[in-house]
Each structure stands twice: as structure tokens, then as C-alpha cells.
Symmetry: C2
Subunit: 418 residues, 2 copies
């Protein structure tokens, strides 16, 4: 198979379909989403059979349990895909919204209209439900999509693609508005991220390695989501109860998520009082602590942290703890080691909260709230295609708006420039 030629076809078909999707009405796009939900519900057996194939070959090729778990399409996960489609259909349509319409001294009227980006390429790993999640957000926002899932999920993804195609055609939209790449050849990814003529933006979803590789090689803009090294800073003016609740929740509510706290910073002024309480709470939860020298003076049973610990996303019940010289120490540590994902200050002091908000350069900055709130649903975006750790285009949780652009619209009455 000539991968370059195949991908060029896929790209051209996506580009053509994008025009049709961009012109389609809200009702038509919602119909496609709801019809896909129906199609998935009707195809549970086919989905199970296709997924069984993937699981079988996954086992025989020795995928680990975590991988196999992500690969599995349980009935509950199919339900979730169906529910997700209905939720996305129920979201307000961002496309066509006109804002900032003003009259200019020249007499022309200028505003901005929200429009789709065009063609969005999604590259992801084993979880097949991402196929529906990503496609539904791109479709709702008026874009065409090219999806490249993990090769181990190829049968499941094709079965899901068939349901998407059914939904699209029932709504009268071109089936090519959502294409799932049919080959598992890695060359296809290389082509996908180097076709600016056909692809407007790439959204990679998966491990840091995947995203770094794609960002390095892409010739198309990439909405990246790198690691989440999140901090909670307990200020000397913190309410101890809030500090304990937020710190424990930020670390232990889930260990494997990017908005989980990885480093706890404590103001030296209160370290000796509050660190033992925090350590006790974390011990109860079975979290291993790794402390700086000053932490070790207070918590004698804690292992010493190395420089790497400050730059590590554990995604595990391990927490780095550092005693810092007040707010300035906290901000400089965060701006040095944070992945600019999410950082939170615990304080009752207005001025320190205000400074933390302004001076911490992260995509989400919080006061007296758990870092676990950094999430598209919690923020009210309705859905989330990822969390951008970039500053360009989209920053933080990326919802439908992040998959759109704005063009200027100008109304005149024969106006000319003089």
C-alpha cells in the first residue's frame, strides 16, 4: 500500500468534507451526533466482536493489563460513548456566533464571526472510546476529522467508524467528515502531521513521548498536552483545615491524572506546625513522601528528595514536599519546575492570593481549590479534547471553542477608504 498516496486521498476527502460540514446547520450536525449514538446502540454486538479481536491479538502480543484495560470496550464504556454523543449534541453551537460588532469612524461595521478550523487530525493511543469523543467535538464545532488510533485498537475503531459514517449519512453529511485511518502503518502518522494543505491542526492524545515526537516532527500546528507537574502551596496565612482538605484531595482523589498534585510547597513560617498534620493525612492514604532538607528536619521518617523529584510527574502515590521561603520562594519554584498546567495557593491573605494569580505562569491558577478541578467539565466547557500546556491559540482545558477560529466580518454600504 502506498501510504503517502493513501493519506493524500484521505486529506483531500477531509478537506472537501470540511466545506460541507462548515456550511451545515446546527440541527444537521446535532442530528449526525444523535444518529451516531443510535448506531452505536444498535451495533453493540459488532462492537463487542471487533473489540474481542483486538483484545485477543493484544493478549497474544503480550500487552500489559493496564493497556488491555484501556483497550476494552465494556458495555458501560459503550453506554458512556452514547451518553457523551448526546451531551455534545446538547451543547450550544459555537459556529456562526458574531461578537464585538461595532461601528467604526469610517462608517463600516466590524465584528468577528466564529468559524471552524477546517480539518483536525487526532492521534491517540489504545482507548477506542476516544474515537467517538474526539470526532463528536470536532463535528459539533464544524470541523472534519482524521483519526489515527492505536494500532492495537484498529478493529474496534473501524467498528466505531462505521457507526459514525451511518450517523453522518443519516444527517445528510459526507461520510468523509470523519475518517479513521485504515492502516496501522506508522508512516501514516508521519504523513498526517506533514500535510498542511489538508490538515489545519493536530491534537495528539497520549503519553509524553508520543506528544513530544509529534510536536517535533509536525509541519502543522499542534495543540499539545504535555505533563502535569502541579503544585499546591500552603501559605503561612492558610486556613489549616482548607490546606489539609485541598492538599489531600489534589493528590489522592486520583493518582493517574495530569491535574494531580505532584509537589507540595509549604511556607517555612508554618512548616513545623502543618507538615506533621499533612504527613499524617498522607500516611493514612498510603502516599510516600519525599522531602527537601528542611522537610526532613521536621518529618524525620521521610526519604530525601533529589533534584529530579521536583521535575517528576509521578502519576502514583508519591509526593515531593518542599519547604519554601514564603510566597516568593513558592512562585520561583513553581515557575522553574511547574509544567505550567495547574498550581494552587492555600491562603486567607488577599494580597498573596492576588500575587500568586498574577505571577504564576500556568494554564490554571487557583486559590483555595483542588488542582483536580482543572478539567473541561468542571470549568463548564461541556467537554474537553485535551488540556493545552501551550500559550498559543488555546491554553488550559480545550473545549469546542479551542477547535474554532474567528474571522472578521465587515458591513458597509458602498464604503471606500480615503
Amino acid at each position: 500500500m502506498d501510504i503517502a498516496a493513501y493519506m493524500a486521498d484521505v486529506g483531500q476527502q477531509a478537506r472537501d468534507a470540511a466545506t460541507a460540514v462548515a456550511r451545515s446547520t446546527t440541527a444537521v450536525r446535532n442530528k449526525a451526533l444523535l444518529a451516531t449514538a443510535e448506531a452505536l446502540d444498535a451495533a453493540r454486538d459488532e462492537l463487542a466482536a471487533a473489540n474481542a479481536k483486538d483484545l485477543e491479538s493484544g493478549r497474544s502480543s503480550g500487552l500489559d493489563e493496564a493497556m488491555l484495560d484501556r483497550l476494552e470496550l465494556t458495555p458501560a464504556r459503550v453506554d458512556a460513548m452514547i451518553e457523551g454523543l448526546r451531551q455534545v449534541a446538547s451543547l450550544p453551537d459555537p459556529i456562526g456566533e458574531i461578537t464585538d460588532m461595532t461601528f467604526r469612524p469610517s462608517g463600516i461595521q466590524v465584528g468577528r464571526m466564529r468559524v471552524p478550523l477546517g480539518v483536525i487530525g487526532i492521534i491517540y493511543e489504545s482507548r477506542p472510546n476516544v474515537t467517538v469523543e474526539a470526532a463528536s467535538l470536532c463535528l459539533k464545532s464544524g470541523n472534519a476529522t482524521i483519526l489515527r488510533g492505536g494500532s492495537e485498537a484498529i478493529h474496534s475503531n473501524q467498528a466505531i467508524a462505521a457507526c459514525l459514517a451511518r450517523g453522518l449519512s443519516e444527517a445528510g453529511l459526507p461520510e468523509n467528515a470523519v475518517q479513521v485511518i485504515r492502516t496501522t502503518d506508522r508512516k501514516a502518522v508521519g504523513e498526517l502531521i506533514t500535510m498542511p494543505r489538508f490538515v489545519d491542526v493536530i491534537v495528539p492524545r497520549g503519553g509524553k513521548g508520543l506528544i513530544e515526537r509529534i510536536s517535533r516532527d509536525a509541519r502543522v500546528p499542534v495543540i499539545k498536552h504535555l505533563d502535569g507537574i502541579c503544585h499546591v502551596y500552603v501559605d503561612s496565612h492558610a486556613d489549616p483545615e482548607k490546606a489539609l482538605a485541598v492538599a489531600v484531595n489534589s493528590k489522592t482523589q486520583r493518582y493517574g491524572t495530569c491535574n494531580t498534585m505532584e509537589t507540595l510547597l509549604v511556607d517555612e513560617e508554618i512548616a513545623s506546625d502543618i507538615l506533621p498534620l499533612l504527613a499524617g493525612a498522607f500516611r493514612e492514604k498510603g502516599v510516600e513522601l519525599r522531602g527537601c532538607d528542611r522537610t526532613l528536619e521536621i518529618l524525620t521518617d521521610v526519604t530525601a528528595a533529589t533534584k529530579e523529584d521536583w521535575a517528576t510527574e509521578y502519576l502514583a502515590p508519591i509526593l515531593a514536599v518542599k519547604v519554601v521561603d514564603g510566597l516568593d520562594g513558592a512562585i520561583s519554584h513553581i515557575n522553574c519546575y511547574s509544567s505550567q498546567h495547574t498550581d494552587s495557593i492555600i491562603t486567607e491573605n488577599y494580597t498573596r492570593a492576588r500575587r500568586f494569580l498574577t505571577e504564576v505562569d500556568s494554564s490554571s491558577v487557583m486559590v483555595n481549590a483542588s488542582t483536580r478541578f482543572a478539567d473541561g467539565f468542571e470549568y463548564g466547557l461541556g467537554a474537553e479534547i485535551g488540556i493545552s500546556t501551550d500559550k498559543i491559540h488555546a491554553r488550559g482545558p480545550v473545549g469546542l471553542e479551542g477547535l474554532t477560529s474567528q474571522k472578521y466580518v465587515v458591513f458597509g454600504d458602498g464604503h471606500i477608504r480615503t
Copy 2:
């Protein structure tokens, strides 16, 4: 000179300065702008002397007149730089603006705060006044800047840089907040566009060749401004007077600008009536017409257009003319040949205007207005760093907002996620 080492120093200094600028108040940044204006006014002799050096070596190295003209810093251009600085100082500060603040069901309060991008690299050609223009917009929007001007303007740019340094230090800001690269070695550009650690975005200003080269080689996001192949479509429902006024103004108000019309599209239904009127008006202005076959049937004295004409940005008194099959023909021609810069429809028909606005995929879409209005000042942005023909991050005229990003701010009261 070790260019890589030098640029790494420049980058690190810019990164450090960016933190100080981002934290500075509106008043301080405005003071730096106004102090720079004073410094330029006081340094007119030094500027003239430095510019004379550049002009002299330019002449001896055989630069053409157009190039020498762009290179020259006339007293009027110095006045314009000073006035520009005062205008930028008077613009509202985008930084720190908090929008969309809402309470979520969880009880947290979520909003978005506008923040600087960080370090912006500007690469431009011979015009030294760009040094002040670009630096002032980046500074106003809280960013640090690294400027790389044309080597032929090195003395002028260094003289301007000295004034910027004076203005910054008078306001108590680090002089490295604006750095003009001291070497003319082309390697410096290669380094500048491949330092993601130190540079957040590159804004190239200049010819298509420069911008394509930079976009191809950059490892940093680029806000590109490629060519402007702009269209005016005269619909069969057009008011002939408005059609003539807008078409003539779009082409002839200035020939060398990116928002100048390069192709005129005429609805076949009215071609035989209106083309002779348009041709007469353009003949008066000395504009050469190049027509499609159907145009030639109506305008017998016009030369035939080739396929290349539809894809050419003349920047000259030449205009391609095509008779199209109504609105659909116009939209498909535009979406095929337009550079997605600016396109305008002349019509009194509501439905056709509405369709044109929705279906033409360009950064500025107009009804009954001259394409020449596509400009940051005309749109009320106050100033313009360029006109983006991209869809990512910024589209169309890019003002201060395009040099910023938004981060999420979350206010809680010990809220945890359950």
C-alpha cells in the same frame, strides 16, 4: 563570534526580562513607551547619522531605490515613530483583564485572565521604523521582544535600540525587555526560530519568501502573514454605483498593499452591462485588465488571463477579471484561489450577502465595502503587528490581543473534587 552561544544568552535574558515585564503595571509600561518617544526625539541627530551610514553602505552595495526608500529614516518617519509610541501608550492595557467569571455547580468560581505570551521574536526586513512599532506593541502587551531587522539597517536599528533601552530603564524595566540582535549573521535567525525554551512565538514581517522560509524551519509557533490575493465579487443584485466605487477603491487606493484587490469577479447576469463601466473606470486609473474568455467577449481590447493570473498577487496596476456563474461560481473561485486574506461581495441581496459571509473562508469577509479596510487601525485594534492568514491563535489583523493568551483562574474556599 559564536552565534549559538550569543543567541542563547539573548534568549535567556529575554526570558528573564519577560517575567519582570509581565508583572509590571500598566503605568510602568506606558511610562517606558513615552520615555522612548522622548529619547527618540532627543536622539534625532544620532538617528540621522546612523541611518546615513546604512544608506551609504546600501548605495555602495547597490540596493535599489525602493529598498533605499524603505531604509531611509526621514524626519517625518521619526515623527511617526514618536507619534506611534504615544498612540500605543494610550491604548487600553489588555493584560490582567478577567472575563467569563462564573460560579460552577461545584461551588468554584472560574474565569479567564489575559496574560502575555512571554517572549516574541520579530524578524523583518529593511524598514527601521518597524523596530519601534513591533517593540512597542509587544511591550504594551506585557511581552519581552527579540528583534532581528534587515542587515542593511543595522546601524539605524541599533540607534533606535539605544532609545528603547533608555525608555525602559527610565521606567525601571530591564533593558533586555527589548533586544535588537547585534549581529547581521544569518545564522542568528536560524537560532532565533529554533529556541522554544526562550521564544514563545515568531512574527515575521516581510516578503513571502522570508515568511515561507521561516515557517518551514521554525520550531516555534509562527504568526504568518502570507500573500493577499483579495477578491471583489460584483453580484447581479449589486448597486452599480457601489460596485464601481468599491471595486475602484479596492484596486487603486494603493497598489502595493496586501489588502488590495487582485481579482475582480462579475456575475454573468450583469457582466455585459457593468463590465464596460468598470473597464472604463480602471482605464482612467491606468490599470491593465486581464480577462477570462467571457470577459474578452465583452471587453474586446483586454488581454487574456492565464491560470496563473488567478493565483497572482500583482501589487501593481494590473487586475484579473473573471465572469462567474453567480454566487456559487464566485464562492468556489474564491475558496480555490483566494489567499484567505480579504474578500468582498457587492450586493443588495440579503440572502446572498449572508451566504457569502458564511461560506467564504477568509480572514476578512465584507459586504459592500472596500477590501482596503482590512487593517488593524480601520478595525479599531489601535495598532497592528501584522495580518494573519492562519486560523490558529490569531486570524486577520493582529493587534495587542493577538500577542496575549488567557489562563484560567479558579477561586475556591477549600473546595475539593468528589
